[in-house]
């Protein structure tokens, strides 16, 4: 288990190897999600970068709560969440979620749940920076809220 917030990039390779060492032959499935900075905003405008801000202490708690909820719902053997903050550029990695389970359905659901909750509940703020403009603070989309909500109704 590992939950981290950092300015530096992360290495999927290092996290993956460490996870595999921890789980050995006990879990059959690993699902990883990585979010990257897109070069275009939702409306299609070119984005020159992303600035991410958090509230030290509170953000960690919000992430821990999300992971606890996931572990309460599915039999997850290991969960890693790494979220970057600071200035990022298009193509950069923003977030990594790794979930290991004996059951692939649980690994997929757990990973997707954590991502959906990060999008709507984790204490981060993101600003899309554009050349020659002040930039825009990103808000969760209607789709993000729909996805977060569906976990409440769904027995999955």
């Amino acid at each position: 288990m590992s939950i981290r917030i950092q300015e530096d990039d992360f290495s999927l390779d290092r996290e993956w190897d460490a996870l595999r060492k921890r789980i050995g032959g006990s879990a059959g499935s690993i699902v990883a999600f990585a979010g990257l900075v897109r070069e275009r905003a939702r409306a299609g405008e070119e984005v020159s970068g992303l600035f991410l801000e958090h509230y030290p202490g509170m953000t960690e708690s919000s992430m821990e709560r999300i992971v606890e909820q996931a572990r309460g719902r599915w039999p997850l053997q290991d969960v890693v969440v790494i979220h970057r903050v600071g200035d990022l550029r298009p193509g950069d990695q923003i977030v990594l979620v790794l979930v290991a389970s004996a059951h692939r359905g649980a690994a997929f659901a757990g990973c997707e749940f954590v991502m959906d909750m990060l999008k709507t509940k984790a204490v981060f703020w993101k600003k899309e920076v554009r050349t020659g403009s002040k930039g825009t603070w990103v808000r969760s989309t209607g789709d993000d809220f729909e996805r977060a909500k569906h976990w409440r109704n769904d027995g999955e």
């Binding site: 979010g35 801000e53 509230y55 509170m58 919000s62 979220h83």
Partner: protein, 86 residues
């Protein structure tokens, strides 16, 4: 007593600082704190803090019952616009 008000993201930009040290009477509530802030900030800045989607945390915990909470010396009050990670 002294408390600190923190402003994040768009609110930090609106208030033009990330933190304000505030001297306030013992037993002050969040309503009192808002009055103090209103005395120091511009109207458009207060409007940003008063927006319906702004959430307030005291010592890193969301205050759900809102303005009634009584503050203590050294409290950190955070004004947070809607969050989004990932």
């Amino acid at each position: 007593m002294k408390v600190r008000a923190f402003f994040f993201a768009s609110l930090r930009e609106a208030v033009e600082t990330d933190v304000l040290d505030i001297d306030i009477g013992d037993g002050a509530s969040l309503i009192d704190l808002r009055r103090c802030l209103a005395a120091r900030l511009r109207e458009d800045q207060m409007a940003a803090l008063d927006a319906a989607d702004v959430r307030v945390a005291v010592n890193r915990r969301l205050v759900h019952d809102g303005e009634a909470a009584v503050l203590a010396a050294g409290d950190e009050i955070a004004f947070m616009p809607p969050v989004t990670g990932g």
